[in-house]
């Protein structure tokens, strides 16, 4: 009851009002169609906007890690730098390459960006701000984000360029390996929360985030998830698919203009998606910090809208990703595969088993302090 007054900035009231208005004014079918279109446009707009913001933030933080100031000419503190960059990339010519597999070459960017947007749609951004809420949400996100690798392989194959090919093959090997670890780490948390639906997962973490609830195995799973998620985005120390000193730019060497922009956009948004899935599954998603019993404190926390909580948690994870990126040198391909197959995967499997035992014997934090 009190919650109705304590959430002035939540967007779910607005969305339900729009929903009610549409249903009152239009027949059922058209109301749903209009809502679908609206949600789609909103998602794509958020997608593009987030990419612009992320690129700016990345460039700033990178600069700070290297004792530089970073972009500071376009607008105050350079905040319009990426807007200018995006404008430039939009009006650039798409260069046509001779002797490429035309159909695959031009469809590859859409595979990548499509997979990325599909995963993006399933993220719960806040209370009532989730476009698709499957009861197998975690599985859906994993499977859909794996589709992106098809685009990478197609891009490398169709470019008719040995560097692109090597880059794509490396990316494929890396992605297939690390997808396994990320998946099992998420499965560990599915065992803990007993559901695959992202919304119920968030709801179940109201008083105790999963990472605390499952203490040791949850922490191990979190670290493994971060490492493998980072590797999946082809960044940081795992950027050997596009190792610029060896392969010029890897699988997107031959792309230019907007097509290159698609790859670029998808790379940044994949970082965001990995971080937001991590925040949702491990850190309680959009749920504000709630402590069982402290009612007034909980109410106070609700005054910060849920989407801000979500973006805050995601920002912490993204910062961590950048921190790692500017700390470690690039791995060799054998080191990369060693790390996955000899360390992360065995630890992960044991960890999953430990988590199952933990849940079955009632040793999770909420079970202990019941």
């Amino acid at each position: 009851m009190l919650l109705n007054y304590s959430q002035p900035l939540e967007l779910n009231k607005l969305t339900s009002r729009i929903d009610a208005a549409l249903h009152a004014a239009l027949p059922e079918f058209w109301a749903v169609v209009i809502e679908l279109v609206l949600v789609g446009i909103l998602l794509i707009a958020t997608y593009a906007l987030l990419a612009v913001v992320l690129i700016y933030v990345e460039r700033k933080i990178t600069a700070f890690f290297q004792a530089r100031i970073g972009p500071n000419r376009v607008g105050k503190y350079g905040i319009f730098q990426t807007v200018a960059d995006v404008t430039k990339i939009l009006i650039k010519e798409i260069i046509h390459i001779n002797r490429i597999d035309k159909f695959l070459f031009y469809t590859a960017p859409f595979f990548i960006i499509g997979a990325s947007i599909m995963a993006f749609g399933a993220i719960p951004f806040g209370q009532g701000l989730q476009a698709v809420d499957f009861n197998i949400g975690v599985l859906y996100v994993i499977s859909v984000s794996s589709l992106g690798i098809i685009g990478v392989l197609l891009a490398g194959w169709s470019s008719n360029n040995k560097y692109s090919m090597i880059g794509a093959m490396r990316s494929g090997a890396q992605f297939v390996s690390y997808e396994l670890s990320a998946g099992i780490a998420l499965m560990t948390m599915v065992v803990l929360s007993g559901t695959m639906q992202l919304s119920t997962m968030v709801e179940s973490q109201r008083y105790c985030w999963n990472i605390f609830n499952g203490h040791l195995p949850a922490l191990v799973a979190f670290i493994i998830y971060l490492i493998s998620g980072h590797a999946e985005t082809n960044r940081g120390p795992f950027d050997l698919p596009e190792a610029e000193s060896e392969l010029t730019a890897g699988y997107h060497t031959e792309y230019s203009g907007l097509q290159f922009g698609f790859f670029y956009l998808a790379e940044y948004l994949n970082m965001f998606i990995i971080a937001s899935i991590g925040a949702t599954v491990f850190l309680g998603g959009w749920m504000p910090l709630q402590i069982n019993g402290w009612e007034s404190f909980n109410q106070l926390m609700w005054f910060i809208p849920s989407y801000l909580w979500f973006f805050g948690k995601v920002a912490v994870l993204i910062f961590f990703s950048l921190w790692v990126r500017w700390s470690f040198p690039r791995l060799r391909i054998d080191q990369l595969l060693n790390l996955e197959w000899k360390y992360l995967l065995p630890i992960n499997l044991v960890n999953l088993l430990v988590m199952v035992i933990l849940v079955l014997t009632g040793l999770t934090l909420t079970d202990i302090f019941k």
């Binding site: 600069a63 890690f65 004792a67 530089r68 921190w323 700390s327 470690f328 360390y343």
Partner: protein, 172 residues
């Protein structure tokens, strides 16, 4: 074959070294930024004395320089950047004397090798720190270093010192 304990030890030492790496970059994140924002920091800009930006000929307050128009700098210049144009004048006692007319320096072809300054016998030219030399046309890079109506500085102080030294030796 590696034992299981070796495997664990490898893993934990790896984690420890990763954490130490992270701590170093964390400290680096908060260090003072080294970027100098050039057009804004013009007032506080520090440029080394040794920086060779542009050749200049120092003139004193009487509009006098030290160039005797000997042309050694022109001979030493590796790519013909310097052109010393001299004229001959007659002094009061009828002697013919070579005097500097125009000292032409082409900044556009200068490699800043410093050979002219090193070889100048009368230290008439130096490199200045004024580095903002951008122009819209190449002609503006060709500069005349001696000012209008400037003259050669008389070597009186040195002569005077010499006379005094002679006097000193005589009295002694």
């Amino acid at each position: 074959m590696r034992t299981f304990s070796e495997y664990l030890r490898d893993m934990f030492s790896g984690i420890r070294s990763l954490l130490s790496g992270l701590s170093i970059t964390w400290k680096e994140l908060w260090t003072k930024k080294v970027t100098r924002q050039y057009p804004e920091n013009r007032d506080t800009l520090v440029i080394s004395e040794r920086f060779r930006a542009e050749l200049v000929m120092p003139h004193d307050e009487n509009n006098e320089h030290a160039c005797t128009a000997c042309g050694i700098c022109q001979i030493n210049c590796p790519n013909g950047t310097i052109n010393v144009i001299s004229r001959t004048t007659e002094t009061e006692d009828g002697k013919k004397k070579k005097e500097l007319d125009r000292y032409v320096y082409n900044l556009g072809t200068c490699t800043f090798c410093n050979l002219c300054v090193i070889t100048c016998p009368s230290d008439a030219i130096v490199f200045s720190n004024n580095f903002e030399n951008a122009t819209f046309t190449r002609n503006k890079l060709v500069k005349q270093l001696n000012h209008e109506g400037s003259r050669l500085r008389e070597k009186k102080p040195i002569k005077k010192a010499g006379n005094e030294a002679e006097k000193d030796s005589q009295t002694a």
